[in-house]
Subunit: 230 residues, 2 copies
């Protein structure tokens, strides 16, 4: 997206001030404008973080005029929310290695590698930070991860079909358990993560799933989980 | 601490601009001043969050003069770091219910209850948020949680002595696994937590520990964990 294409865009294509998370629009100029704004928001977040991001920055780096930005997105928060919404459109699919162990390890390593690369980590980190300051950003982050973990659940459902875990395993809880120690170390306890920690997270989630700790049809306590001799 | 005691405090008691995390000072006026500043920082964080906290607020609510604040703590970041350092001095001890299951569940419920109470949650949440904007706050948060989880490790060591988990279980990893899904839901995926989620976190960590997923003397992969028929 360049300043020229932005300038050429018909005014009549205005799509409202605050696109709802989850809404999808057809391609063409509107989609290109939206992508250019998304790219500028991501670059700005990576460079300056949420408190440092400005509408001026987004205008300059997207080539979209400030008046257009305000008219379509309402405010910076609207641009942030829409960028996070678009980030969910990346076509990412979870691993399918043939075993639950392989899939959970691959998921853990993806998180670890993404957040170990400062350039890749900057924008997601800024999104997470922005949720502390903006309820709309928090809602968008919630929607993003709900959809993302929803896609991951297939990993656990396939494992249940193969008989690797109980059929009533809460798939969402298993895939969250893989990422949780990694996210906690990154953003709460501020501890490093590496391949060993990733393996440990995956191994723990797998062992707990196998032992029935994530079953939905029993109370979620260890006493109710199947005995380890079963 | 009132304005009068602050005013009466001898100037000669200055203790340097930026107390190092982990340093401890004897009681008396200096300790009372420090506690008053800590209380004002916590109240300010709870009311306004980190971006909204000001030296003026801390001065007003602690009764300590701004010049004294700047001389002793250097800046607002120094006050934040020292408040977090003092928060580690709370004498908290982990549960000792007699079983690992009971202890892990009690830990999970403590986290859930603390963060379900908006008044209790406000200051810790602001500390976590501040670490996104301040490296010194991130370092202090790291030190706080390292010490806190260090205290929790006794729970796992006692369980190993009772034969509930392998003797080479990584105690730090187990106690982190209990809290991680709760912290991730609170601050990353922005999902609610409740007693059921707390029970599930504890049950999963327990099952994984029993299955050997947190053993230190074997590679941390599920394949290396003892078979579930053991």
């Amino acid at each position: 997206m360049t300043a020229e294409t932005a300038a050429a865009e018909p005014e009549g294509e205005a799509i409202g001030p605050a696109p709802a998370p989850g809404s999808r629009r057809p391609g063409g100029r509107t989609a290109r404008t939206r992508a250019a704004v998304r790219d500028a928001v991501l670059t700005g977040l990576a460079e300056h973080g949420y408190p440092g991001l400005t509408v001026e920055y987004v205008a300059e780096h997207s080539g979209v005029h400030k008046t257009t930005l305000y008219r379509r997105w309402g405010d910076l928060e609207g641009m942030l929310v829409d960028a996070l919404d678009l980030a969910g459109d990346d076509g990412w699919t979870p691993p399918d290695t043939g075993t639950l162990e392989g899939d959970l390890r691959a998921l853990a390593h993806e998180v670890t590698e993404a957040f170990s690369d400062a350039a890749l980590a900057a924008a997601p980190t800024a999104f997470i930070a922005s949720a502390f300051q903006s309820q709309r950003a928090a809602d968008a982050l919630h929607a993003f991860y709900a959809e993302r973990f929803g896609r991951c659940e297939g990993v656990v459902r396939r494992a249940a079909e193969r008989g690797e875990v109980p059929v009533d395993t809460n798939a969402g809880a298993v895939v969250r358990a893989v990422s949780a120690p990694l996210f906690m170390r990154l953003f709460i306890t501020r501890e490093p993560i590496d391949a060993r920690i990733a393996d440990q997270s995956a191994a723990a989630a797998l062992a707990a799933a196998r032992a029935g700790a994530f079953r939905t049809h029993t109370a979620a306590t260890a006493s109710d989980a199947p005995d380890s001799t079963n």
